[in-house]
């Protein structure tokens, strides 16, 4: 559970960082009147805070899987998988889709609607390509006899990649709504937040993938 506890320490640091300027030593029974308080989070859009809290929950899920992975790995019957070459290509594709989202986000800031459109479409196609690539990896592994029930290492591989893929699929649903909005003629300023949220989410899932991929490679 070391990984999960380390994750909790990070969360705790963020919570303390947020709480410190909140004046927790104030004596509220003394001060009267509509005083303002330091609330740096008000500089952020509500939806963005919502997304960050959601990402904390998702991180908790992945941290727990990694913890379970490392505990189960210590037992005698663990038989590591080969590292399919295709995974490297998939990783590159996911990296590109994340970059495409970043481009879309930059384009919204410059209010270049055309750039937003092409980048969003590219990002979507690349993400689908990544998911197709992951399915291909599954098929390759299955064909070479690495079935899910054959070894816990296989089981964890299928489980973790599936979970990561499902999160991308959920992201694609939001992506499709955002893209629809962009193509149905919304102004750049109106879609800026949606594109930004997608970009954060994709960068996050890229990071998670890099961490998981690193874990799979190193074990």
């Amino acid at each position: 559970m070391i990984v999960t506890l380390a994750f909790l320490v990070v969360v705790a640091i963020i919570v303390v960082w947020w709480l410190l300027p909140q004046n927790l030593t104030a004596k509220p029974w003394l001060a009267h009147g509509p005083i303002e308080d330091p609330r740096p989070e008000r500089d952020f859009a509500t939806a963005k805070i919502g997304l960050w809290v959601f990402l904390a929950v998702v991180s908790s899920v992945f941290a727990l899987f990694v913890s379970a992975y490392s505990i189960r790995m210590e037992l005698a019957d663990w038989n590591p998988l080969p590292d399919p070459k295709l995974l490297w290509i998939n990783t590159g594709v996911l990296l590109l889709s994340s970059a495409a989202f970043q481009r879309a986000r930059n384009a919204t800031q410059r209010e270049q609607l055309h750039g937003v459109r092409t980048s969003l479409i590219a990002a979507g196609i690349l993400t689908f390509a990544f998911l197709a690539g992951q399915l291909l990896v599954w098929r390759q592994l299955n064909a070479s006899g690495y079935f899910i029930y054959a070894n816990p290492a296989n089981a964890f591989f299928y489980l973790i990649t599936a979970l990561h893929g499902l999160h991308l699929l959920g992201g694609l649903w939001v992506w499709s709504r955002t893209t629809y909005k962009v193509f149905s003629g919304a102004e750049a300023s109106k879609i800026a937040l949606s594109v930004e949220l997608c970009t954060i989410y994709w960068h996050y899932l890229l990071l998670v993938w890099l961490a998981l991929f690193g874990l799979l490679l190193s074990t």
């Binding site: 104030a26 509220p28 919502g50 904390a56 929950v57 505990i71 899910i148 029930y149």
Partner: protein, 582 residues
């Protein structure tokens, strides 16, 4: 700094257009809160019914032919899981959280109302899936609420064919619902507080629900992860948790899995879960005690710090549920130490509640009686927790009725007493009507004395070594005949307490239509939800302008003030009878 309160503008609100979108498919936090509450209480009544069936079997073995051993285990399992998750978690966070967070903070609604609505419907789906397991062949799971593998999914355990799978699916769905709701509760507290509502002016209810939600968001994933992995072990033949097993003469395909891994994941969720239930109870009871004692809460800052400390420490005590599973003695020592440390902030809270009562102007209203009763049962259950936190005491007591008595006292009876205190306290605001006081008193005394009659003797049964989880004791040398007499007495008390809850339900339903009009602030409370322009509050809560907060939530019996309470939104010049009071 410019103030940006969410839904500050009336036109940004989602206005319901029909009866259907007002009361059923509603995005209003108050309606969602009532939906959550009614669903949770209903499913809780099912769990209560099952506990009475268990008690009938234990009190009068060989008497009721309709309670077979495998059914008994199904009752044990479903009773535990429903009470902890589908009743208490849902009621405190989905019910009280939804109702009180926006109102107490001076917001018009939650920040993501649509998600909030989905949260309820997904929760309802989780309940339906769970209840469906009663109607499938083999019935619901009887694995115990901890669902330990390997036994949970092996043939011979009740519900191993389908019941356990439905349980796991239902839990996963519940966690999705909780996440949707939880995002709302957290972000609403962060973003939608009205002007002047600093963190340190928030009522303790909000602090507690906020912290409990953060715990839930971080801890429920552990249950999710273990539910997913156990489902795969069951359906796809993986061996995450399943060791090599010879079951009923057959070697199973599983090999090498770790049941202890499941226990770690389960209790990594399971212990914070205790505080997910307890913290909201702490918060609500603080506000009820302060209001009905007409005295500011004692040590407000300490109460806030204690809530935060309990929240933090609750993540590093989980393995105290696993002393008997076998662990390195150093780990046992570590977890025993953290367990005893968490008692410190908890004890601070208890002292502060008692000191809030000290020289207060105590009104023994129905909610106040329940709140004071909570202090009794909580101290009681908390002290036995200190016993069990020590490895050397826990090992012999772990599988006895002492543990049943402990956790029912501390996280069964205590939170439920707060649920009643809070329901009676906020009923006039939610419905606009007053409940019947006599019925409330009858309900209180039967429940309070009755639960003591149930759980106090169980401690003695535990000391005698009476094992828990047994369908029937049979004849044993070390258990005297009198233990059975005690068991029969407990069952009689349980039947009385169970029946007494009907008084509560009748009171609520009757008062909703026939009760006296309550007025907007019948208790003379300071917090914002009692200062709404309409009672019950209308959609949008506050009319054209949001309230502005001028003071903390506990200005009761302030010297020189014209009344014995000053609402949070009352400016200084209105509060004192003769101008400045300082």
């Amino acid at each position: 700094m410019e103030h940006i309160a969410i839904a500050d503008q009336v036109h940004e609100l989602h206005h319901p257009k029909s009866w259907f979108t007002t009361y059923i498919w509603s995005q209003d936090h108050k309606v969602i809160a009532v939906q959550y509450t009614i669903t949770a209480v209903s499913v809780g009544l099912v769990a209560l019914g099952m506990s009475l069936l268990m008690r009938l079997q234990l009190g009068f073995p060989d008497t009721f032919s309709f309670i077979a051993p495998y059914e008994y285990y199904q009752y044990v399992t479903m009773h535990g899981m429903i009470m902890v998750i589908y009743l208490l978690t849902a009621l405190f966070l989905g019910g009280f959280g939804n109702y009180l967070i926006p109102l107490m903070l001076g917001a018009r609604d939650m920040v993501f109302p649509y998600l909030n609505m989905l949260s309820f419907w997904v929760y309802l789906l989780a309940v339906i899936v769970l209840m469906a397991s009663f109607f499938i062949p083999g019935g619901p799971t009887g694995a115990g609420w901890t669902l330990y593998p390997p036994q949970a999914i092996l043939a011979g355990t009740p519900g191993a064919d389908g019941g356990i799978f439905l349980m796991l699916v239902s839990l996963a769905i519940f966690i999705i619902a909780f996440t949707m709701g939880g995002l709302n509760y957290v972000v609403t507290v962060l973003q939608a507080r009205t002007r002047g509502m600093t963190l340190m002016r928030m009522p303790l209810t909000i602090w507690a629900i906020f912290t409990a939600t953060v715990l839930g968001l971080l801890a429920f994933p552990a249950l999710f992860v273990s539910a997913v992995m156990m489902s795969l072990d069951m359906k796809l033949g993986t061996s995450f948790f399943m060791p090599a097993i010879l079951s009923m003469g057959e070697t199973l395909d599983h090999d090498g899995g770790s049941p202890i891994l499941f226990q770690h994941l389960f209790w990594f969720f399971g212990h914070p879960e205790v505080y997910i239930v307890a913290l909201p109870a702490f918060g609500l009871v603080s506000d009820v005690l302060s209001c009905h004692a007409r005295k500011s809460i004692f040590g407000y800052r300490m109460m806030v710090w204690a809530i935060l400390a309990i929240g933090g420490i609750s993540f590093v005590v989980w393995a105290h549920h696993m002393y008997v599973s076998g662990m390195n003695p150093y780990f046992g020592f570590f977890f025993a130490t953290t367990t005893l440390i968490i008692a410190i902030p908890t004890a601070i809270k208890v002292y502060n509640w008692v000191l809030t009562l000290w020289r207060g102007n105590i009104h023994l209203t129905v909610p106040m009686l329940f709140a004071i009763a909570f202090i009794f049962t909580f101290i009681h259950g908390g002290l036995t927790g200190l016993f069990l936190g020590n490895v050397i005491v826990d090992v012999p007591l772990s599988d006895t009725y002492f543990v049943v008595a402990h956790f029912h006292m501390v996280m069964g009876v205590s939170p439920v007493l707060v649920v009643f205190a809070a329901l009676y306290h906020w009923f006039p605001k939610i419905t606009g009507k007053m409940f019947n006081k006599t019925l409330g008193m009858i309900h209180f005394w039967l429940t309070f004395l009755g639960t003591y009659a149930i759980y106090l003797p169980m401690h003695y049964l535990g000391f005698l070594g009476v094992p828990r989880r047994y369908y029937a004791l049979g004849s044993t040398d070390f258990i005297p005949e009198s233990a059975q007499t005690l068991n029969a007495g407990i069952t009689v008390a349980a039947l009385i307490v169970g029946t007494a809850q009907l008084v509560f339900i009748v009171n609520m339903i009757w008062s909703m239509s026939k009760g006296k009009k309550a007025g907007s602030n019948p208790w003379g409370a300071t917090t914002l939800e009692w200062q709404t322009p309409d009672t019950p509050p209308k959609h949008g809560n506050w009319g054209p302008t949001l309230p502005v907060v001028h003071r903390w939530a506990y200005d009761y019996s302030v010297p020189g003030a014209k009344r014995d309470f000053i609402p949070q939104n009352e400016p200084e010049e209105d509060a004192s009878a003769s101008g400045n009071r300082d």
